[in-house]
Symmetry: C2
Subunit: 524 residues, 2 copies
């Protein structure tokens, strides 16, 4: 095997990215065939005369996207790649593949174990419980009684509440300054209801951002602004009511665990949810075919809550399903900005050979920025966008024009990409602190589940301790963790032995301290 | 007849208000019996040694609230008052009564004519077409072609768009300053999702405001914050799903013309709308009984779009219906702050003898302040409030905590009441300009329909010119007016001969100019 990537050290594109693109092209063209083993990191680095770091990063990205499979001590193997999107190819390649980057050790270990379980024909080990936008879980879980807190002498519990974001690094001063421009005499139209589809200037800025940041190909006139992901999903339900995808017991294929809020909205509109099994490389495409669904709702960049990435092979097969059946895919990219191993996974929407005809992409600023602005968006296929103006009732104008304008100015100044880069580092440090402490204190009694991405991880009890007991013990110790069972759509296949920890709003010190307290509570 | 009101000129309460309260108490106690004629304004003013103005104002208020009836040239007569809320009393008093204050001449003339039509057994003259939150109408009505605008040499049409508010008198500087306080280091929690029911401080301020401004009796823990009236209605639908008032083809009795957006939401949730006829003093209570509905949705302070006030007699009969049948009343007080004749009509909720057990009050800040903040609220009955925390999914947190906090500070400083007083004068001048010009230019070919309140009026063609033609002629002349048929729930009883004009966003000069242009277009 010869790998001769044309690396250009003077290019603004990082070496790892050049290397990743080259190998990916080799696989897609068939020059690197399925089953071929890639050279080890050490060997390729020496061969190319570069350090190991970019090689590791490129390999990690390829593994995360499902181009190669990583096995402990046997390196990376090229996976089958199906350019024709045929059902046969899909069925041929129905074996699961590992989803996570090889150097992300803790979650990786979990995925690999799951992959093994799965290849033995068993139900995936890390899909036996469920999870969320955990907004719900957070607000509805009882607080520890004040007596408990007094007894243990803590002012407040350490709260691994999902949906909390880091508020120490938000650019308050800059935001306030930009917001101030909305109060200029020539900006008074911002105090009205605003455009039902979103302010035109904001939609243009979002179109540009989604393309550059997430590979979403969508002109401004196909962007529809919402007041958070849930509201955007509601808008979509309303939009679809006048199409062949209308509700009335229509099936939506969903990941077997998913956001409970979004599930509630789909059901409220009269959709029937058909759970699709999760594998280490994302949803099982055979199940999608079998579901009889007209619509698939999925979180391909970072499955909620389990964290796996939908592999490139499955992405193409899912798009193929849509092309074959006339199906529609709703891609919920709720935290796609935050990936700590390799580059961000590009959106499914941008891969659509029908230039976005079959994918509705949903993005939010609740994690990249802050929830309080209540801003999200959908990138619509052309046919749906054409009817949006007449189909969306103006009562759906829930996103404040003032916040839209401020974020438009923020994006126009280049501040959003800069802020996301900064926050990616901040969250990566928090994630690393959590995973490192959990490996040290909780393994092997607990498995860490979830990719190296986003603002949450799962801890799963290897010994089968029920979720309620884990939560109860944690609360007594002054730590709040959250249930995962609330996110399960499928009938319970196994027990409930995992809890969800959101880490976005906690400091690294609090995270490590929280994990230590959990270890004391759970392993005592 | 002797009227000896204990007037106190040194009291902070205005004379007209003292006089109004005294006469109202006399009627409620039965000391002033049904059929008694009140002294003329001139006589009572002379008798009390005060000017005519407070007497006119007190009489206007009593007439608006349905305590007395005004007839041209025969003064005011006391109407029957039913303290026992019995069905028999209701049926006995089923004759319509005039709804508007006697000195509000133009709309009054319309009401009186309607009253006469109604007492002849005819269908109400001013309910033969329908209207809106007109957000919809506004955004969905085609703009005149650019050629038309160029031809008549106007830069833009005069747009009587409903939902637009006056933006020349908004306290931008003060608001920006208060908003700035949200950026203080101790306010970072405002950048999170916030409390699903609304921020506690904001709910307390709203409770206080609703009591003082609208007579709503509701402690903060029963206030639920929404992102505009439509969103609040959606929240209510979700809340009611777990109660005996759940949808599933349950009937809601609604005014035969109503907000199309709210109608769409009720229908989306699976409610069945049963139209109730409108009379000059509000909905026909017999129809409510006959509807078999569990819920009544009504706009008692200023019917949307026709503008009549639900009389005090009918308010009590409606509350009686609720008490007898276990029914629930949703009171939408969408513009109750702006009444130009007499005092604001107190809310139905505050009248509920069961201390708000059977009324859900819905208020909004979209008109009193500006739509862009997306803030509204519901005052819930105790039983419903008790379940709200668990029944309302956190995905319903759509009101930005930043806007909630700013408005809380605005209210705490006493600025909201002051702003509303100022805007009441501003809008009264606009309303007066519209009505005066319409009387001068359009009567008798057009009737002016709507109480002396709110931010819109209707113009109805006496000659039966269809709504579409009125809109088309207006557009050609460079004026935008809006359809009323979109608001009709009942099957069409008569034609569509009325258009809606929102005047909140236009200057007095533009309003007068727009009416002159309409007269030229319609009467040519």
């Amino acid at each position: 095997m010869e790998l001769v990537p044309p690396l250009d050290p003077s290019s603004p594109e990082p070496l790892y990215s050049q290397l990743y693109r080259h190998i990916r092209a080799e696989i897609e063209s068939g020059r690197l065939a399925a089953g071929v083993r890639l050279p080890s990191v050490r060997k390729l680095a020496a061969h190319l005369g570069i350090s190991r770091t970019p090689v590791e990063a490129a390999y990690g990205q390829l593994a995360a996207e499902g181009y190669v499979r990583s096995k402990p001590r046997s390196g990376l193997t090229v996976l089958p790649f199906e350019p024709e999107f045929s059902r046969e190819a899909e069925l041929r390649s129905a074996k699961p593949s590992a989803a996570s980057a090889s150097h992300v050790s803790a979650p990786d270990a979990a995925s690999n174990r799951s992959a093994e379980a799965s290849s033995r024909g068993a139900v995936m080990a890390n899909t036996n419980s469920a999870m969320s936008t955990a907004d719900k879980a957070g607000s509805h879980t009882a607080s520890p009684a004040p007596e408990v807190i007094r007894k243990i002498g803590l002012p407040e519990p350490i709260d691994f509440h999902y949906g909390d974001v880091d508020l120490d690094h938000f650019p308050y001063r800059l935001w306030h300054k930009l917001l101030g421009r909305c109060f200029a005499p020539d900006q008074r139209q911002l105090f009205r209801y605003g455009d039902p589809l979103g302010e035109p200037g904001f939609r243009a800025a979002v179109s540009d951002y989604a393309y550059r940041g997430r590979g979403v190909v969508c002109p401004p006139e196909r962007i529809v602004v919402g007041a958070g992901t849930h509201h955007t999903i509601e808008q979509l339900c309303r939009l679809l009511q006048r199409t062949p995808y209308a509700a009335d017991r229509t099936a939506i294929a969903v990941e077997e665990s998913m956001s409970d809020g979004i599930a509630a909205i789909f059901r409220q509109y009269g959709y029937r949810l058909v759970p699709v099994r999760l594998e280490p490389d994302g949803i099982r495409i055979e199940d999608v075919y079998d579901s009889g669904a007209l619509i698939v709702y999925t979180t391909p960049s970072h499955q909620f809550p389990y964290g796996m990435v939908l592999s490139i092979g499955k992405r193409r097969r899912l798009l193929n399903w849509a092309a074959e059946t006339g199906g529609l895919i709703i891609e919920d990219d709720y935290d796609g900005e935050f990936r700590y191993a390799g580059m961000p996974i590009p959106s499914l929407q941008g891969l659509d050979p029908a230039s976005g005809d079959s994918v509705i992409y949903v993005g939010t600023f609740s994690r990249a920025l802050a929830p309080a602005f209540r801003l999200s968006y959908a990138a619509l296929p052309p046919a749906l966008a054409a009817t949006a103006a007449s189909a969306l009732h103006p009562f759906d104008r829930l996103a404040s024009p003032l916040h839209q304008k401020t974020l438009e100015l923020f994006m126009a100044g280049g501040y959003l990409q800069r802020h996301i880069r900064k926050m990616r580092n901040v969250y990566q440090r928090k994630w690393t602190a959590l995973v490192a402490e959990a490996r040290r204190r909780l393994e092997p009694d607990f498995r860490i589940v979830g990719g190296a991405a986003g603002l949450h991880v799962l801890l799963e009890s290897s010994g089968g301790v029920p979720e309620e007991r884990l939560i109860g013990l944690a609360e007594q110790a002054g730590v709040r963790v959250y249930p995962t069972s609330v996110y399960r759509i499928a009938p319970e296949r196994t027990g409930r032995h995992a809890v969800l920890l959101g880490f976005g709003g906690l400091s690294e010190d609090s995270i490590a301290e929280g994990i230590r307290m959990l270890a004391d509570a759970w392993l005592a």
